[in-house]
Symmetry: C2
Subunit: 179 residues, 2 copies
C-alpha cells in the first residue's frame, strides 16, 4: 500500500487506521511520504502484541517509487471514486496474465495529484460515492484476497483472540522457556 | 448504524468517515450520542451534491435506543475484533427467520462498554486483528448487501460520476426548468 498526501496532525488518526487496515487485510507494507512518528510506533506496538512482519516504510519520492514498482513487473492500482468498477478491476488483477505480480495500491488524502491517475495501471472505484480511503482499501483487499485475508495467521504474536459470541477472550502465547 | 463513544475533536475525522461510509454502503442513517456539528454539516453538504436521503441523528441514550430497536423486531449487530467470524454472522443475518428485519450495526471508538456486547444479538468480528471501525463497517455492509450497495442509486443528486479508467468525469444534473 502506498499512502500519499498525508497532512500532519489533521490526518494522523486516519493514517494510523490506513496502516492498521493494510496490516490486518493482508498487505505486507505501507509506504508513506512523511508522517508523524506515532503512526510507526503504533504499528510496531501492534506487531509486537499481535504478530506478523508488517512494515511501515518512509519514502521520499512516491512517483519514482511507483515507477520502479512497475519496472520490476508489479502492478499499480489507484483507488479513486472516479475510477472503474471494483468487480471488473478485481477480475483484471486476478486474471492469468497478472498472476503473481505484486500489487501496489495507492490511496490518498482528499486531493490526489493527477500523476497518480496516470501512473496507475488501473484506477478503481469502490463505489462512485465519496467516502473514505480506509473503507476503500479494506473492501478492495477483501475482494482481492476473496476474504481469505481475514483468517491470515500472524506469526510470533504475544496475544491471540479466541472468537467469542459474547465478551472478550484473549490467549497469551506461552512465554519462551529460559533454557 | 449506531456509533458510540465519540470523543470530541480527536475523533472528528474518523466519525465523518464512519458517517460517509454508512451512507455510501447503503445504510439509511447513522445515530450518534454527541458529536461535533461539522459531521452533520459535511453529510448534509454531501447529500446535496451526491443525492440520497441519508440521515445523521443525534440520540441521548444509546442503550435505550438499541433496546427499542430490538423490541420493534430489529436485529442488533455489534462489530468487534473479539466477535465470531464475519462469514457465519452474515449467514445468520441473511437467513430466512431474519429476513426483512432491520439491522442496527453498532460501532465504537477504542473502548466499547460491556453493555454493547450484551445488547447485541450478534457480536461479529471482521478479522480478529486490531484495525478500524471504518473498515469493519464497510466490509460488513459490503458482505451484508453482497456488493449490490456499490451500485445503489442516490436520487436527486446534483452530480454524478461517470466511471473512468483515467482521470475524473463528472456530470451535472440538468437544472430544473423555471416553468
Amino acid at each position: 500500500v502506498l499512502r500519499i498526501g498525508h497532512r500532519l496532525v489533521r490526518d494522523d488518526r486516519v493514517t494510523t487506521h490506513s496502516a492498521l487496515v493494510s496490516r490486518a487485510f493482508g498487505a505486507e507494507a505501507i509506504y508513506m511520504t512523511g508522517v508523524d512518528i506515532s503512526v510507526r510506533q503504533t504499528l510496531e506496538s501492534v506487531g509486537k502484541r499481535w504478530g506478523g512482519q508488517f512494515r511501515v516504510e518512509l519514502i521520499n519520492d512516491w512517483k519514482a517509487f511507483a515507477r520502479q514498482w512497475k519496472n520490476e513487473g508489479g502492478r499499480v492500482v489507484h483507488l479513486t471514486m472516479y475510477g472503474t468498477a471494483l468487480s471488473s478491476g478485481i477480475s483484471k488483477l486476478n486474471c492469468k496474465s497478472n498472476a503473481g505480480r505484486n500489487v501496489l495500491v495507492i490511496i490518498g488524502a482528499e486531493k490526489v495529484p493527477r500523476e497518480a491517475y496516470d501512473l496507475a495501471d488501473y484506477n478503481i472505484s469502490v463505489g462512485n460515492q465519496p467516502h473514505s480511503e480506509i473503507a476503500a482499501l479494506a473492501v478492495f483487499l477483501d475482494r482481492l484476497f476473496s476474504g481469505a485475508e481475514l483468517s491470515k495467521k500472524f506469526g510470533g504474536a504475544a496475544l491471540r483472540i479466541v472468537p467469542s459470541p459474547r465478551g472478550k477472550k484473549v490467549r497469551e502465547a506461552p512465554r519462551k522457556s529460559i533454557n
